[in-house]
């Protein structure tokens, strides 16, 4: 194997670890803000404590997000020097802005954490969360626009290998950007909601029926439903986008070989060596409807695309995993809300609570599957239409060694995060903290 293969694996490894923490990093601040705001508005200690405890766990994940983010920022140039040399002239602007957004977030997160009870007016403390939420969303926006550029490059003209007529804003606001950014943001909020819901559900499932956990669960599930629906809607738009700009990715995801109208949507199944689809569920017309909102719309098939530009057909599985989990979680949260409204006791059953416990990890799996789908799906390109992955990679022979080193590092980081987070909350349960708060209030009242 060559350096390019190892560079791909190392980048995939770094990004797969980073995206766990990045998704939490983008999604969770909004929940801290909602809980903090509800706490202040209703004078409810439970919500304030929620905000405090979420924020505490959040810092750990931000820390690991920062270091893995630094790793990928530097690895881009270390592993893909030719690509960065070329693309640096086109996407430096969003990269630079991303750092600003992140800087902004880091500053205010630091202030927020260390100023509980330092402001006379508690609302001022709450206001510190606004730059945190905005900074997190903005950095997601800018960095996703860079990724979108790699999928649909524009804003320059290539004349004999020389770049001319460069328009940084056009490069940033490329065709893939709106759907990508929207999908990244909505799915991050959705995932964060389910992760926080999982935590609350875990305590309820274990038989702790404290009102604190019930409040947390119903708050996060409500928001989860909203963002699940939003994610699905944006996902639909992303499908339409793919059909227009990256038909090869959609065709590979759907194992769609013949260009035809009335195209069926292929779910699950396996692909034989002769490219026959077996054991799949076919939903007639669905792909045409998905792409053209019309049952007889013509969808480009892989046979009409030169074979050297076909993405690996494997991405079908990633696509299925993502969509299945997305649909399942939407149904789950919808059912929960209806049941809550109609007072069905089934949502208090141990079985249902267990389903809720699995929702957060499932959402994270969907995030991973979605990114693998989109990234593997643009092979063989690193910059679609302009530079292949092999052309962008480093020629250093030391990449395999670095792959091992980073794998060990990430193992330590992930295990460490798990251990620290578990210990942090296990040793200091909600009841103990609420008691402490009450004791302080009692002594102040005296």
């Amino acid at each position: 194997m060559e350096s390019v293969e190892f560079s791909r694996y190392l980048t995939m490894l770094t990004l797969s670890v980073h995206v766990v923490f990045a998704t939490v990093g983008v999604g969770v601040p909004i929940f801290i803000a909602i809980a903090h705001w509800l706490g202040l508005k209703r004078g409810d200690e439970h919500y304030l404590l929620l905000a405090k405890r979420w924020a505490r766990g959040y810092v750990i994940s931000v820390a690991v997000g920062v270091v893995t983010g630094t790793a990928i920022a530097l690895q881009l140039a270390l592993l893909w020097p030719r690509f960065m040399e070329f693309a640096g002239q086109l996407v430096a602007l969003p990269l630079f802005m991303e750092t600003f957004a992140f800087f902004f977030e880091a500053i205010f997160l630091g202030i927020y954490l260390y100023t509980w009870n330092r402001f006379k007016n508690p609302k001022h403390h709450f206001l510190l969360l606004i730059p945190v939420v905005l900074g997190a969303a903005m950095s997601a926006l800018f960095i996703t626009s860079v990724n979108a550029f790699m999928n649909t490059p524009q804003g320059f003209t290539l004349v004999d290998g020389q770049l001319t007529n460069i328009q940084p804003l056009l490069a940033m606001f490329n065709p893939a950007m709106p759907t990508k950014v929207a999908h990244v943001l909505t799915s991050a909020y959705m995932t964060a909601a389910f992760i926080l819901a999982s935590i609350a559900a875990f305590h309820l499932w274990r038989g702790n029926n404290h009102v604190y956990h019930r409040k947390a669960l119903s708050l996060t599930m409500k928001v989860a439903l909203i963002f699940s629906i939003a994610t699905a809607l944006v996902g639909d738009l992303s499908g339409k986008f793919l059909a227009e700009y990256q038909p090869e990715k959609l065709a590979a995801a759907e194992w769609h070989f013949e260009t035809e109208g009335e195209a069926p949507l292929v779910l699950y199944g396996i692909l034989t060596e002769t490219n026959e689809v077996k054991y799949a569920i076919r939903i007639p017309y669905a792909l045409s409807i998905l792409v053209h909102s019309h049952p007889s719309g013509v969808v480009t098939g892989l046979n009409d695309i030169p074979e050297e530009y076909h993405p690996p057909y494997l991405i079908h599985y990633f696509f299925d995993i993502m969509v299945t989990i997305g649909v399942w979680l939407t149904v789950l949260s919808l059912f929960y809300m209806v049941a809550l409204w109609r007072n069905w006791s089934v949502i208090k059953s141990k079985m249902f609570r267990f389903l809720l416990v699995t929702s957060g990890p499932l959402a994270m799996v969907a995030i991973q599957a979605g990114w693998w789908f989109t990234e593997v799906g643009r092979q063989p390109w690193i910059m679609r239409g302009f530079m292949t992955t092999a052309e962008g990679a480093t020629d250093s022979p030391h990449v395999p060694l670095m792959l091992v080193a980073f794998a060990i590092l990430y193992f330590i980081l992930v295990v460490g995060t798990g251990v620290v987070l578990t210990r942090m909350f296990k040793n200091n349960p909600v009841e103990k903290e609420l008691e402490k708060i009450n004791a302080i209030q009692r002594s102040e009242a005296k």
Partner: protein, 338 residues
């Protein structure tokens, strides 16, 4: 002033910003760990923790800032430095990752774990060493071309070069000097006499090796890169000025003016740092890359400078807020739980 010069000046500013904040941070981590070993930890613990906790994240961003800006303004550096520095920079990333996450684990998670603190200290002194390889390589003389036309780092030349080791040594001792000087000031604001006494002593201890290695490097440059040596000589008055600031800072330290003493330390490094930067003009990587042939297209350069100015308008007030709340805030430094 050409737009290339503006570009490199902006980047040099980021790098200098990183050198100062990271030095304070690395040094603080080192003192924090070394006092555990020497049994003086209780004296410095609270001062260091109170400074580090709210700002540790910001330090890392300075580095990414410099790095992203470098690729933005000078995309060709991505090719040269990226290809050559795979191993040293990967080592830095790994150390930075361990350091950052273990700090968070130790501070926000399980409080006061000795292993985390020691790890934080040790990685803190190794990072400047591994990062300074980038600076050493940019001097030229450590990159060789292979038979197949690839470029790679000449590790043998690097590890056997006294010049390279002097730079690494300078990065180590100056980290400890800058940090001790800042922490002396910080403990004087906190009115923490024990910590102040210790950090004042550390400042004295690390000041002399710093200035001696710095002078030594200028002399060594004569054999390493004569062109750059002459560049340094032509700016002798800047380095003389830097030396005057060094003497001033020690004098103020003796007088008990710790805030001013630290300001003169920063000035000393700023002048020397900019002097060094100007003296190597116009090379980014001697002799392969100058700031002119590695520069990005003009449109992007102007876009970056515009964003940079807008970004500063946002950052400076925010940094001022951090400063007011945590660094200049007496009640916070003195009391308050970490």
């Amino acid at each position: 002033m050409t737009v290339e010069v503006i570009g490199i000046s902006v980047l040099w500013l980021f790098l200098f910003g990183y050198v100062i904040v990271a030095s304070i941070d690395f040094g603080a981590g080192f003192f924090n760990a070394s006092t555990i070993v020497t049994g003086k930890h209780h004296i410095v613990n609270s001062v260091i923790q109170r400074y580090l906790s709210p700002v540790w994240e910001i330090t890392n961003v300075f580095l990414v800032f410099f790095f992203v800006g470098m690729i933005g303004f000078f995309p060709s550096t991505a090719y040269y430095f990226g290809t050559v520095l795979l191993i040293p920079i990967s080592i830095s990333i790994i150390l930075l990752a361990l350091r950052g996450s273990y700090y968070a684990f130790g501070t926000y998670g399980t409080k006061g774990h000795v292993g985390y603190t020691l790890m934080y200290g040790v990685t803190g002194v190794l990072i400047p060493a591994s990062l300074s390889t980038a600076l050493i390589v940019s001097q030229g003389g450590f990159i060789r071309e292979t038979a197949t036309g690839r470029i790679e780092l000449d590790y043998l030349a690097l590890f056997t070069s006294p010049f390279a080791w002097s730079i690494i040594l300078l990065s180590l001792v100056s980290v400890l000097f800058i940090s001790a000087s800042f922490l002396a000031y910080y403990s004087s604001v906190a009115e923490d006499k024990g910590a102040l006494k210790l950090f004042r002593r550390y400042t004295w201890i690390w000041s002399f090796p710093t200035i001696i290695t710095a002078l030594g490097i200028i002399i060594e440059m004569k054999w390493h890169n004569i062109e750059h040596f002459q560049g340094l000589l032509s700016l002798w008055w800047l380095f003389a000025l830097s030396f005057v600031c060094f003497v001033m800072s020690l004098w103020l330290l003796k007088k008990g003016q710790y805030g001013w003493s630290f300001i003169f330390v920063v000035l000393q490094f700023a002048i020397a740092f900019y002097g060094y930067g100007v003296s190597r003009y116009p090379y980014l990587l001697y002799p392969n890359l100058t700031i002119y042939d590695g520069f990005t297209n003009e449109t992007m350069a102007y876009a970056l400078i515009t964003v940079f100015i807008l970004g500063l308008l946002l950052l400076i007030p925010s940094l001022y807020l951090v400063f007011k709340l945590f660094i200049m805030n007496k009640p916070y430094i003195k009391k308050g739980k970490v």
